[in-house]
Every structure is written in structure tokens, then in C-alpha cells.
């Protein structure tokens, strides 16, 4: 439909001495589903408000479709923002809410109602136009907010954690729904979330943010499989982080001296380490395997003897919590049926392949 790229050119946003967004530099392509993923307080909302025009960048420029947006108010930008709390108007009916942008543009009453009903059909809520907002369920309100934003016919839809108020089931359902709506209307969606599951399932590309800084931009698989920083590795998905010092590197394989002995992992992004560099070895729970178990990983370059502390059953998976000389590790196995082998309290042999572990330089970890 439209192909308006959004370009953030070295954008920084400061509140007094505090830098909420630090030097964001990226281009979001027209028609893309782009997510900003990061923990609460990392500056996501601030960045989104800057794109929508409620905040001006302290440095750098925002341009949409090649046009510098400095001084252009939120009402003049081709964007529509869906607020974290939706901000539906409680005293208006659902149809009035949806048609409000049309009312603003001077569209007549009849035509407004017609358009509102069309949009209600599109979000699969036909016939609720005359209800009050508080008569709808959380998921329905969510969709009404989307319909209201789409009524402006924006080029870019900005969504600020729109699913955070919903319960788990609905959240999962709405992921699919949102993605489907985006593909149907062909708009650019800029989506903000602290939920990596949402970002991974819906996005074409993700920018992972930490403390105002964009640490990595990439498609979901790259973000998950090839994190570039310690923060991204630890924030996106579950992982085990083992701290150590590089002893040597041959080709892509790095040997790291850790409290658990020398471990081998892959140098992320073709990086070169010197002996003595402080680093983390990251290995995901599903890449850690029990030695000798049926279907276990074939080439276990790294093998450890650890103490199994407890086992957790999550239906589709079993999580084994391990302790190796004070270092907590987590191992996940797909549940293929059968009975638990009751490993808790026993010493077990675990291992992982060098090409499944990632070595990254020291840096802040998520939730640490």
C-alpha cells in the first residue's frame, strides 16, 4: 500500500541530565512489522512518542517518507499511536470512538457510522457499535483501539505494549490476530513490548533495547540464535551464562577457562578474542543435554558432572535445575511422554556442543 520508510538518524532523547534514548540509528521499511523489545524503563515508550510527535528528539532527526518531521505535530504525522492503556473515550459509544478521527476531519454522521461499521466488521466485532466501551471485554477493547487507529488511514501504526493488559490465552490469540491485521492492511507496524515471545512471533525485525541503547537489530531468528551482546543473549529467551576468561581461539572455536573447567564455544559474529579477555559462554537450556540419554546431542565437546537440584514439569517440557560448583544451570527437555527419571538429588553428566554455545564479551546481563 504505502512504502514510507521511517528513518531515525542518530536520535537521542534526554530528560534533563538523564538520557532515555541514546543515539538510535535505524531505518524501518514501509510495510514492515518492526518491534522494539526491551525491559521496562529502557526507553521504548519515549522512542515511540518521538516517532508519533509527542516528544522532539534532543539530538538527531526523525524522518518519515524522506520528510524531516521536526516541528510537525502528532496530528500532522502519518502515524497513529495506540496507547499502552488504549485511551478509548469512556463516554462515547464504540462506534463514536472508532469514528472520532473521521469526525475530526469533518466527515458527516451517516458516513462516519458506515465507516465505523466497516471497521468493526474488519476486526470481527460486528454489531457492537452502540455499546459503551466498558461493556466490552479486554480483547474486544484492544481491537476497537486498533480499529480507531486505522480509521485515520495512517501509514504507520504505533503500538505501545498493546497486549500487556490481557490474560495469557488472549495475548497469544491476539498475537496471531495482530499479525494477520497487519498483513491484511499492509501498514507499517511499530510495536513495543517487553515480552520476547510477542516480538519473536510477530515481527519481521526486532530492535533489542537496553537502558536507552539499541543493542541489536535483526530478524527474530538472528536475534535468538546469533545474539551480538551479552544483554541480548540473556534477555531474549532462557539461557545459561557462564563467566570466564578466554584461553585461546582456533578458527571460530574459543576455549574459555571457567569455574567449571575449560569450555568450548563459538565466537559470535566472527569475533577475534585475545587470551585473557573476559567473556560469557552462553548455552540455551534446550541445547544442554544429558550425556548418554537417548537422542542426546551427538558431539558433546563440553561435558560436566553436575548436581541435579530439582525438576519442574511444564507439560510440553521438563526443566532440570542443576548446580555445578555454585553455578546454577538449567536444562530443558521436550516431554515425549513416558515417566520422569527422577534425577533430582543425583549427580548427572551433562554436555553441549561447541557450535551451540556462544561466546560473547562481558557486558550487562538482563535481570542482573
Amino acid at each position: 500500500m504505502t512504502t514510507k520508510d521511517i528513518k531515525l538518524d542518530h536520535v537521542s532523547i534526554r530528560f534533563g541530565a538523564f538520557t532515555a534514548v541514546d543515539n538510535a540509528h535505524l531505518t524501518i521499511k514501509g510495510g514492515e512489522f518492526f518491534s522494539f523489545l526491551g525491559p521496562s524503563g529502557c526507553g521504548k515508550t519515549t522512542l515511540l512518542r518521538c516517532v508519533s510527535g509527542f516528544t522532539e528528539p534532543s539530538e538527531g532527526t526523525v524522518s518519515i517518507g524522506g520528510k524531516d518531521m521536526r516541528g510537525v505535530g502528532p496530528n500532522k504525522r502519518p502515524t497513529a499511536l495506540i496507547f499502552q492503556n488504549l485511551a478509548l473515550f469512556p463516554l462515547m459509544s464504540v462506534a463514536e470512538n472508532i469514528a472520532f478521527p473521521l469526525e475530526v476531519r469533518g466527515v458527516g454522521r451517516k458516513e462516519r457510522r458506515k465507516k465505523a461499521d466497516e471497521l468493526l466488521d474488519m476486526i470481527a466485532l460486528p454489531g457492537v457499535g452502540d455499546k459503551k466501551v466498558h461493556e466490552l471485554s479486554g480483547g474486544q477493547r484492544q481491537r476497537v483501539a486498533i480499529a480507531r487507529a486505522l480509521a485515520v488511514e495512517p501509514d504507520i501504526l504505533l503500538l505501545d505494549e498493546p497486549l500487556s493488559a490481557l490474560d495469557l490465552k488472549l495475548r497469544h490469540h491476539m498475537r496471531t490476530e495482530l499479525r494477520a491485521i497487519q498483513q491484511r492492511v499492509g501498514l507499517t507496524f511499530i510495536y513495543i513490548t517487553h515480552d520476547q515471545g510477542e516480538a519473536l512471533t510477530m515481527s519481521d525485525r526486532i530492535a533489542v533495547m537496553n537502558a536507552g541503547v539499541i543493542e541489536q537489530i535483526g530478524d527474530p531468528e538472528t536475534i535468538y540464535n546469533k545474539p551480538k551482546t551479552a544483554f541480548v543473549a540473556s534477555f531474549v529467551g532462557e539461557t545459561n551464562a557462564i563467566s570466564g576468561k578466554v584461553t585461546s581461539q582456533s578458527d571460530g572455536i574459543v576455549s574459555v577457562q571457567t569455574p567449571l573447567g575449560v569450555l568450548k564455544g563459538t565466537a559470535a559474529g566472527g569475533r577475534h578474542y585475545k587470551a585473557g579477555d573476559e567473556c560469557f559462554v552462553f548455552v540455551r537450556p534446550e541445547q544442554l543435554g544429558l550425556v548418554g540419554a537417548p537422542g542426546a546431542i551427538q558431539s558433546m565437546d563440553n561435558q560436566l558432572t553436575v548436581q541435579a537440584v530439582k525438576e519442574e514439569f511444564e507439560g510440553n517440557a521438563r526443566h532440570l535445575f542443576l548446580n555445578a560448583q555454585g553455578q546454577d544451570l538449567r536444562l530443558s527437555r521436550t516431554n515425549l511422554g513416558g515417566v520422569s527419571d527422577h534425577l533430582a538429588g543425583q549427580a548427572v553428566q551433562v554436555g553441549f556442543a561447541a557450535d551451540q554455545a556462544i561466546v560473547l564479551p562481558h557486558g550487562s546481563l538482563a535481570g542482573a
Binding site: F54, N75, M92, F100
Partner: protein, 307 residues
């Protein structure tokens, strides 16, 4: 009745019989002695003749519509244009004062609730409240001084060359309107503030984002939320303005009577409490009917005002 009984016994169980009796008794005393009885006796008064002391309670002391008839028809049985005119003028003036108060207080309440923060907000509130420590009479006279022929407003206007001869603000009722508008400003600001404070800022921003002008944001988003507050403030300001006595007495122009002054004259100067009561009842009934009618027009229920 059942609901009342249930509530009563629940209250007794929760707070004990002593507290229940105390609360019940105080409410009873308050309602009966301070609200119902005085009003009833006024109502009773208004239907009696103004008799010499000796005849009160005698055979001549019977009920009559004479006092009300006088209000409508005067002495000669024709239309009492003078008194009815004063009532109408008082009502119109009270409406004007109320409208001016809404126009002044809505922006102040909105800014107080949504723009002012920290020190600025606190200073604003203090600036609004502290002047009301000065009593009503003193404030009224201060306005008289302010707007007098040699007052501050005239001397500034004259020396700045805005006008050449002192303007008689008192005769033009400017002083009266200003005094009344100012007197009830808090009663308007706080209900509106209460209502508007509940508004989520994001709604304003959402409306802006969808292209709404400031005017439309207020008309469609803020005003509907503020409406119960405005109505609540407006009823209070209207009732109190229509019933004001000191300000019209002190600030009113010489040829311009307020209806309350008329009531006052019947009670005090003519020593005719019966007729005074009738006039007071007329004022009360007219005011209440007027407010009820407006609530109808603006589709506000009495319950909303209580919030």
C-alpha cells in the same frame, strides 16, 4: 423499608449499639431541628397574616394566601411588576455570574489538574484558598474601594489614558458582578477539578494524535468528563448568588435591588415576617425549579452531582 432495616442492623452489629444510637440521634437532631423545623415554620409563617402580638393564636390567626397574592398582584390586584421584575433580574444576574464562573474556573481547574505540577500547583491552590480567609464583608468593601471613583482601577485607567473621566463601576454593576463571581470561585473550581482530574491524560493525547484541535479535544473529551463537576459547581454558585445579601448590599448600584434585599426589607424594615417568609419561599421554589429544569436540559442526574 426492608433495606433500611437491614442496613441499620448491619451498622449496629459493626459499630455497636452506642455508636449507632449516637449517630442516629445526631442525624435526627440535625435534620429535624436544623433543616426541617425552621423551614416548616417559615412555610407556616408565609401563610399567615401579620397580626399584632395580642391577636396571634386568636380567632383572626388563620391561614391565607395573602402574602403570595401580594407578590404576584401587589396591593391593587394588578400585576406586581416591580417585585417580579426584581426576582427575574436577580435570576438573570445569578445565571450570568454562574456562566462567568464556569468560563473562568474551567480553564483553571483543567490546568490545575493536568498541566501544573509540584510547586506551581501548590502555589495555585494556596493563591486560590488564602484570600478566602478574609471575611465576606471585608472583601466586598475591598471591591468597593477597588472599583470606586477614586479606586485603583479608575486611577490606573485614567493615568494610562484608557479613559478620561472616572467610570462609575458601582452603578454599572461591574463591582457587584466581580464581587459575586469572585466570592464563589472555589465552589466552582473544586467540583470541576475533581471531575477533570479523573481524566486520563492519554485520552487527550490520543485525540490530539487523531488530529483533533484543542477546541475539539475540550468539547468532545474533556467537557463530557467535566460536566457533572460543572453542574455541581453551577448549582451551588447559582443558589448562593441568588441568595446572596452582603455583596448586593455593599456593591450593588443604588437603583438596583437584589431579591434578597427585598426579603430583608420585609423582615427588618417592615417587620412583616409573614410576607418576608412568603418571598423567601418564592425565591427558594423558583431557584430549585430552575436548577431542576437545567439538569433536565443538560441530562445530568442528581446522583452525578453527589460524586
Amino acid at each position: 423499608m426492608g433495606v433500611l432495616q437491614q442496613g441499620l442492623s448491619a451498622f449496629t452489629r459493626k459499630h455497636g449499639l452506642g455508636v449507632a444510637c449516637f449517630i442516629g440521634l445526631s442525624v435526627f437532631v440535625w435534620v429535624v431541628f436544623l433543616i426541617v423545623l425552621p423551614q416548616l415554620s417559615m412555610l407556616d409563617f408565609s401563610f399567615r397574616y401579620n397580626l399584632p402580638r395580642a391577636e396571634v393564636g386568636g380567632p383572626a390567626d388563620v391561614y391565607t394566601l395573602d402574602n403570595y397574592a401580594y407578590f404576584f398582584q401587589g396591593n391593587d390586584g394588578t400585576f406586581n411588576a416591580l417585585d417580579i421584575g426584581i426576582l427575574v433580574k436577580t435570576m438573570v444576574a445569578a445565571v450570568i455570574v454562574t456562566v462567568i464562573d464556569i468560563a473562568i474556573c474551567y480553564p483553571i481547574a483543567f490546568i490545575l489538574a493536568h498541566s501544573a505540577t509540584g510547586v506551581a500547583a501548590r502555589l495555585m491552590v494556596i493563591g486560590l484558598i488564602v484570600p478566602f480567609w478574609v471575611n465576606e464583608i471585608l472583601r466586598a468593601f475591598a471591591f468597593r474601594v477597588l472599583f470606586g471613583a477614586t479606586g485603583l482601577v479608575n486611577s490606573i485607567g485614567l493615568s494610562a489614558g484608557f479613559w478620561d473621566v472616572p467610570i462609575d463601576f458601582i452603578r454599572a454593576d461591574v463591582a457587584l458582578y466581580s464581587g459575586l463571581v469572585y466570592a464563589y470561585i472555589l465552589l466552582m473550581i473544586f467540583p470541576i477539578f475533581n471531575a477533570v482530574e479523573a481524566l486520563d491524560r492519554n485520552q487527550i493525547e490520543a485525540a490530539r494524535d487523531m488530529g483533533a484541535s484543542w477546541w475539539r479535544v475540550h468539547w468532545r473529551v474533556v467537557l463530557p468528563i467535566a460536566k457533572p463537576g460543572i453542574v455541581s459547581g453551577a448549582t451551588m454558585v447559582f443558589m448562593l448568588t441568588a441568595g446572596a445579601l452582603a455583596a448586593p448590599q455593599i456593591l450593588g448600584g443604588p437603583s438596583n435591588l437584589w431579591f434578597t434585599q427585598l426579603i430583608y426589607q420585609w423582615f427588618n424594615e417592615s417587620a412583616n415576617w409573614q410576607r418576608g417568609s412568603a418571598y423567601a419561599v418564592v425565591l427558594l421554589v423558583v431557584c430549585i425549579s430552575f436548577v431542576m429544569m437545567l439538569m433536565r436540559v443538560f441530562k445530568v442526574s442528581i446522583g452525578e452531582i453527589g460524586r
